[in-house]
Symmetry: C2
Subunit: 338 residues, 2 copies
């Protein structure tokens, strides 16, 4: 099949690689209808994560079931499905407690930017829906594979409350979905920290009531003013850098929680500040399957349209350009058409 591969920092190619095959009777193979590039794919692209040269890359996709293993009973060839990037059996003790991303049978999509992807624990992982040809709906369904549930997880972890205030640190696709989540959960003030006009515009579409363009101390002061000197009731950290985490803690009111979903890179948590201010931290890899039914309903009822985060669509062969566009911040998030 044709697949996006990574060979070294900055070296993304589209090549012919062997098709994925069923490796366990609980697997399914999905023919990718839409895939995309994740902000977290930029970590290896920028040389901040280890790379195995020639590996396929991409963990987000929606598609059509092509083939299922002998033990898969809930899906069959032809089903149109959303594929959570983190596969889970949805039955183990961790899944039953809502911690699907720590499933004892967890695996991940590894060729989402390709023609086919293998899904582990297909019965537990996949969620079927009606096939659609509508491009906007395809985009929103694709967003349910990772970015929207991840923003949602930040909001859940931060404890966003109806009528409360929420700050979103990060204006990437996940941060924007965090804005959408906080807004959908009824936060009265949704404050996004963003310096980029196109992202500010989407944030406002998604329900942001305030945009703070300042950074550092000035940014914290601006949030404090918006929150009547108290700080935010909930903070969503959607970046993963030490600076973003520092900002998150600086704007959190005492007793609140920072919900974090940015993969930590070089983060040192301010334990003394957390202790003295009683500001907690919760979050991590999003348990996508946990939120999928609810989010699918929100998408299909028209209450949320997270697909709006895709501001570029390219053919699979152009994925190297997709990486460049995201790396240079010319695009927020790139959808790929195999």
């Amino acid at each position: 099949m044709r697949a996006t591969t990574i060979h070294a920092p900055g070296d993304i190619r589209v090549e012919d690689v062997p098709d994925p095959t069923l490796t366990a009777p609980t697997d399914a193979i999905v023919r990718v209808v839409r895939g995309c590039i994740c902000g977290s794919d930029l970590w290896p692209y920028r040389g901040e994560n280890d790379i195995t040269a020639g590996d396929t890359i991409g963990h987000e996709c929606i598609g059509v079931v092509e083939e299922v293993g002998a033990e898969v009973t809930r899906f069959r060839a032809g089903d149109f499905v959303v594929v959570p990037f983190d596969h889970c059996d949805n039955t183990c003790a961790h899944c039953r407690a809502g911690a699907h991303s720590a499933c004892v049978n967890m695996s991940m999509t590894t060729s989402g930017q390709a023609e086919y992807a293998r899904v582990g624990q297909a019965d537990g992982s996949l969620v079927a829906t009606e096939r659609t040809e509508d491009e906007d709906e395809l985009a929103s369904l694709l967003a349910l594979s990772d970015v929207m549930p991840t923003g949602w997880h930040a909001a859940v972890s931060a404890g966003v409350q109806q009528g409360g205030s929420a700050v979103v640190v990060g204006d990437g696709a996940v941060g924007l979905c965090g804005v959408l989540a906080a807004s959908a959960m009824g936060a009265e003030k949704v404050i996004v920290m963003s310096r980029h006009e196109p992202r500010q515009a989407i944030a406002r579409e998604f329900g942001a009531t305030h945009v703070v363009a300042e950074r550092g101390r000035e940014g914290s002061a601006a949030v404090k003013e918006i929150t009547d000197g108290v700080g935010a009731d909930a903070v969503l950290e959607c970046v993963g850098t030490d600076q973003a985490m520092g900002t998150a803690f600086s704007v959190a009111r005492p007793g609140s929680t920072v919900g974090f979903v940015g993969v930590p890179h070089g983060v040192e948590l301010p334990v003394q500040r957390m202790f003295s201010k009683n500001v907690g931290l919760r979050g991590g890899i999003a348990p996508v399957r946990r939120y999928l039914p609810e989010l699918l309903d929100l998408v299909q009822s028209g209450r949320i349209a997270p697909g709006r985060v895709f501001d570029a669509t390219m053919d699979l062969v152009d994925s190297p350009e997709g990486y460049r566009a995201m790396d240079e911040r010319r695009a927020i998030k790139v959808m790929l058409r195999p």
Copy 2:
């Protein structure tokens, strides 16, 4: 007045010092009926915190109001009161949100091991109750000044649930109160990590269902076995060292929260583990006033008797020996009689 003072690591004295006076119209002066030594007093005693030579020490006490400032309306001389170690106005935005330990008018008791103590924001801070001569009840009321609400805060922060499992890391007075809290909140399995038999015995009295004496990997493995291979639903970190925090995270099930109340000393939080396992951290300085009414009711109805953590009572003049006894772990917690 006679007061306990600290001059250098290991150098605790009982001396005559000036009586505390009203410094603000919202202050009260309390004549101490019982004070005590806190595990956290051992940090400066052991040279791990900075010391100002000659300072009074001690932040826990109960007593009788001696004098009130002009703006104090809810208390008058003669009232018998529990003094939260952290004083608060109980009206600011942080107090209203339950984050009393971040009150905008916060101060602390600084001469709890003495004849008199000043209390800031007396109307907000103090809780009156019937005067008692019963030694057991005095002990339990004194425990409400810090150690019991702190253990309670660990349990609240960790999200202890009825029917769930809870691990308590630390068998000091706070850890034991954490056991009592988790048990009172209805946890079905209350697991205390303790190697000291007298402390294990009190933990069992307080409702511990399991005692794990092993440390490190063996300790974690023991907890995992008790929790059916899953890990604990809630973990209370009641020490403040890096080792204790590491143990806490190692026994927490994915999706759970570590509630921490031990003042952090040299703690580096395992952010990658927190992220990959979705284990949160919440807690800090206990908002004592928030919990006082409920805990006072539990004490007076006989449902909890946290005073059991005091295993030695000494006259104020013997407080240097009290410090030695606690430092050498000959005593769990020493009550002082001025």
